[in-house]
């Protein structure tokens, strides 16, 4: 695939360009923030009021009350599920997941939002829960699950029940993490029926709220239908019964606040997190002032961005100690610090050539040797194509790059800061390679190929078909054929679509990149990384 660069229509000064770029970017930020705000709000006003009237705290109140004063809360997948389940389900899929400090310990908090369809699990809710667990497992974070869910959303059972990565995986991960020494704590703040009851039941320690939290494999109606036994919820699975008779739960609380206070006490008694294995140096602010990166992101995605300049807005002091600066120039590699934590940076600056791929392989190997986390800043239309490239063995070089990247066991982080297409997307540590976390900027795009390339490629195939049949195809007809394809690819490739489908952990603003990565790097700094064993390199 060729880099598709059009010359600017008119020549503008750099300042004017930056101004226009920044204005265009503001629109993207506005959309991002309004989506986030909708996610933050949760259910309808009526649903929220009803929840409050029951004396319960809203899910975000619970989280903010649970975490330490001044603790950051790094939310994951806040835009997952947007528009997948109609207007009544805001972005977030009825569950909030993120990392916060509880009693001095970083924890993964997974919390149902009962104001969204009763906190029931849609397919995406399952996947988001599972993703949060995987993040917790990778980073060895204790899991605190605030359970307030009506269970599975039955019409969506195809996306909930049968496959790996869905509801059942929640249990599998709980068991696996517990076995791996990662504490699992549940706080039962609502009714947990059937499968829902196993989420707390599979935890190490359970807190339940009197008169509000219930756990049973079948609710009163189902019990009556099945056995004829008439029983009220309290007797069937109330807090007192479970705390005093069945022993299913371990701590009984009087209300939400009490349950959260007990949870804080529980976390305070957990073993302390090990000391960081990667030291932190005194952090520096990036070299660009807030907002400056917006002007560097071209409003026309077909025009390239100056990645080197963009990095100055992310790295501590804007400093990058470049590695092989003069070789394979379309991939920038080098050592830098983000929030005081050392990282190995790989950032695209054009299409990937054989040299760029070889350079990446070398650099990744070095970072693995030195136990330095990798950060990929993806803005790449792909690997170079054509006879010359093939002759130069680009397939071999690309394979080495992918082998090195895929084998690396150091923490890996990916941020798509522009277009990320095809094998380029994959080589720059795409989702399939399980980066510790992956984000997109709101201008970010990713797909097998770009919209123009897709439309052109498909049109080419079509034209060949017509030509073989001897039929004529006018330019207008071709354009009419290409426009919807282009549109479809645009929509697919957008950051919001990737976030909606949980193909990334979130959409973040350029200025949020440094703080988000800093927080992530600090979490992984105390997780031991095993030695990297590389697959076979084709040299």
């Amino acid at each position: 695939m060729n880099q598709n660069v059009k010359p600017a229509a008119t020549e503008l000064s750099d300042a004017d360009e930056a101004q226009l770029n920044a204005e265009a970017f503001e629109q993207l930020l506005k959309e991002l923030r309004s989506r986030r705000a909708a996610s933050r709000r949760g259910g309808s006003d009526a649903a929220r009021q009803k929840h409050l009237d029951r004396g319960k705290m809203l899910v975000r109140e619970r989280i903010d009350a649970l975490i330490d004063p001044g603790s950051p809360f790094l939310e994951l997948a806040d835009l997952a599920g947007a528009e997948l389940y109609g207007d009544r389900v805001p972005p977030g899929a009825g569950i909030v997941t993120g990392v916060g400090m509880i009693a001095g310990q970083a924890c993964m908090i997974i919390a149902n939002d009962a104001t969204v369809k009763g906190g029931t699990y849609f397919g995406m809710t399952c996947r988001k829960h599972v993703r949060a667990q995987k993040f917790a497992w990778t980073n060895r974070l204790p899991c605190v699950t605030l359970v307030d869910s009506g269970g599975a959303f039955l019409p969506d059972q195809a996306n909930i029940f049968p496959d790996e990565g869905l509801f059942g995986s929640i249990f599998h991960n709980q068991v696996g993490m517990s076995a791996d020494g990662i504490p699992q704590i549940a706080v039962v703040l609502g009714a947990c029926t059937a499968g829902g009851a196993y989420i707390p039941a599979l935890c190490d320690e359970i807190v339940i709220v009197r008169g509000q939290g219930f756990m049973y494999l079948a609710g009163p109606q189902l019990v009556q239908a099945a056995t004829g036994e008439k029983v009220d919820p309290e007797a069937l699975g109330g807090a007192e019964m479970h705390s005093q008779v069945s022993g299913v739960t371990d701590h009984m609380a009087e209300n939400d606040a009490h349950a959260l206070a007990i949870t804080r006490d529980i976390v305070a008694e957990l073993p302390a997190r090990p000391a960081p294995i990667r030291p932190r140096t005194s952090p520096e602010a990036p070299a660009l002032p807030p907002g400056a990166m917006h002007g560097l992101i071209n409003r026309d995605p077909r025009r390239p961005n100056d990645t080197r300049e963009i990095l100055r807005g992310i790295l501590d002091g804007g400093d990058l100690q470049e590695f092989k600066a003069g070789y394979g120039k379309t991939l920038i590699t080098g050592f830098a610090r983000i929030g005081g934590y050392q990282v190995g940076v790989l950032a695209n600056n054009g299409v990937l050539f054989t040299e760029s791929a070889n350079k990446a392989t070398h650099f990744i190997q070095m970072c693995c040797q030195r136990n330095i986390p990798l950060v990929f800043f993806a803005d790449v239309s792909g690997f170079m194509v054509g006879r010359e490239a093939e002759v130069n063995g680009i397939a071999k070089a690309g394979a080495k790059f992918i082998t090195a990247m895929s084998s690396a066991t150091v923490p890996k982080y990916t941020v798509i800061i522009g277009g990320s297409y095809g094998a380029g997307y994959l080589a720059m540590c795409g989702r399939a390679f399980r980066p510790n976390a992956m984000f997109m900027w709101p201008n970010g795009r990713a797909a097998i190929m770009g919209p123009d390339q897709a439309a052109t490629t498909l049109a080419l195939v079509k034209r060949q078909g017509f030509e073989s049949q001897g039929r004529d195809w006018t330019a207008e007809e071709e354009e009419a054929f290409k426009a919807p394809i282009r549109q479809e690819y645009e929509t697919f490739a957008s950051a919001f679509n990737f976030a909606r489908n949980l193909w990334v952990d979130g959409v973040i603003e350029p200025d949020e990149t440094a703080p988000v990565l800093s927080l992530l790097l600090e979490i992984s700094a105390s997780v031991p990384a095993g030695p990297t064993r590389f697959g076979v390199f084709r040299t």
Binding site: R62, P69, G70, S71, P72
Partner: protein, 668 residues
Amino acid sequence: MFKKVLIANRGEIACRIARTCREMGVAVATVHSTADRDALHVREVGESVEIGSAPAGDSYLRIDRIVEAALAVGADAVHPGYGFLAENPEFADAVVDASLTFIGPSAEILRRFGDKAAAKAEAVAADVPVVAGTVEPSASVDDLIESVAGMPLPLLLKAAAGGGGKGMRVVASPDSLRQNIEAAIREGRSAFGNPNLIVEQYLPEARHIEVQILGDGNGRVIHLFDRECSLQRRHQKVIEEAPVTSLPDALRQEILAHAVRLGERVGYRGLGTVEFIVKDGKAYFLEVNPRIQVEHPVTEEICGQDLVALQIRSVAEGRLPIEQADVIVGGVAVEARLYAEDPDQDFIPSTGKLESLSLPSGLRVDRGIAAGMSVTPYYDPMIAKLIAVGPDRQQAYARLSAALEESAALGVQSNLPLLRALTTSPTVLRNGVHTGSIAEIVLDLAAVPQVSTEEAALAAALWLRAHRASAPMLWTGWNGATGWRLNTGTSEANHAPSIRCASGAMGFDIRFGMLDLDDALVVAANEDTYAIRLTEIGEDLVLADLDGRTLTLIPSCDEGRAGFIRGARGVSLTVTPYLSGKLLSSGGTASGEVLAPMMGQVIAVEVVEGQAVGLGDRLGVMESMKMELVLRAPVAGTIGTVACAAGESVERDQCLFEILADQDEAAA
């Protein structure tokens, strides 16, 4: 002269006595309880004997141990200071029996003046006018009620063995007479070991005038002029001045003569104070305080005499060190007593660590405690006395007021706001005061909030900074990530509070939030939200940018406290986690809980479970710091639980009663 004096006291008076002893070349030692191991008097005196545990009854009131201590340190005299055993004749006897000198009047005189009835009889015999009332002390409720049957209200109940304002109660309504008599008997028994009371006509809106006398024990007595101590709260003096400027000279001379005559009649030895109540141009004998008094510095300042030296010399030498003609008054002196007490909670003592204490130089300050030390619930919570002198009353008050403006005490609540209000009150400045004036001024004071929401937000921000600054990590430290959230474009505070800051009855739920990435915070105190950026500019000095205004603050925070000093203003709030207290009990508001306002002992439970109570009804009585605190119903309803019993010791904030609120009340 004595070679070594044991000071059987603590606090500022122990330090004060030691100072004079050293100047006189007399060695000193003191005593302390386990609670006072590192107290100021122990540090300043330099030699101290531990005499028992924290409660005064087991230490500062233990005659045997104090005498032992005096012998152990090789003292040949004991100075009792004020309070504790200062007026205890058994103590005086025990000291003499151990062949030591008691620096005070003879035990016999202590006995006579220690009994209010006997003292009154002594005054009558010396031709000093007295207030109408019962003659014989009694501990029989019925007898007392009967004996006051003909007297007009209000009445004053006095513990026969009381003194220093303790054990006195005013009865204004016949309905509460019995209850008050019972309480006064209880108080007398527990505080003074003597349940007997006398009852007198209460003279409201009177002036409290007292005369400082000095006797040689052989019938020669002089006076060191008079003091006015009308500014009292609950019969406790707050502001004292000397000399008296509110009375015509003829009346003053009459009062001085009364005092000297009474002293001469009993052959008074050492320092003493004869107290009078003055109403409608007439003076009545109140009592004799046979000891040095808290307010002695004002007399020292106007007479240029060291009263402690005069006291020691007159006792040691058996003669007056000075003649009446040597006592010359110049100027006016005013003293303010700085107490650790909570003006929002009816001035109950405020205990805890005194985090910082800033008292101005340029005037006399007698300190009893230094910054970093604790105000314990066991003893008088006085922090210091500030004494200002001026050529006239107006200037003395102006100096005292200025000094109070520059003073700050953090860590405990203090009566500084009250003192500031008093020293600038027009009533006080025009000398129109009486013994009830403070109550009126306090009412005005109550209208002024002690801490604004803005100050609470600032204090909370400083607390968060102090709380997190020590942690080097991003997630736990004080840095750009503090309060970090994904940006929604609006700088919002968190959804739930993190901490609760409180000062007395004022409470602030504090929510933090991130403003931007450069250490700026959003801080919401209750409903008000502020943008605050803190910049450290020096050791313990922080610039706070608050919504565009820049303030210079000296932070004063620890785990459980948030505060700062800004100029003369000190703000101090307790910090508790948001997830604590009543929030954790079911029923949410749960305002039916009655918590112990401080540690102490429950001395009466007046309700039973199931009993209906109205708002403000009495539930019981607890005692702390020798003070009775009535526990009242915060809501109307039914007593659900009585969680305490008479005689039980309770901790601060322990739940004593639970009231099931009436439905309509709960809805309102």
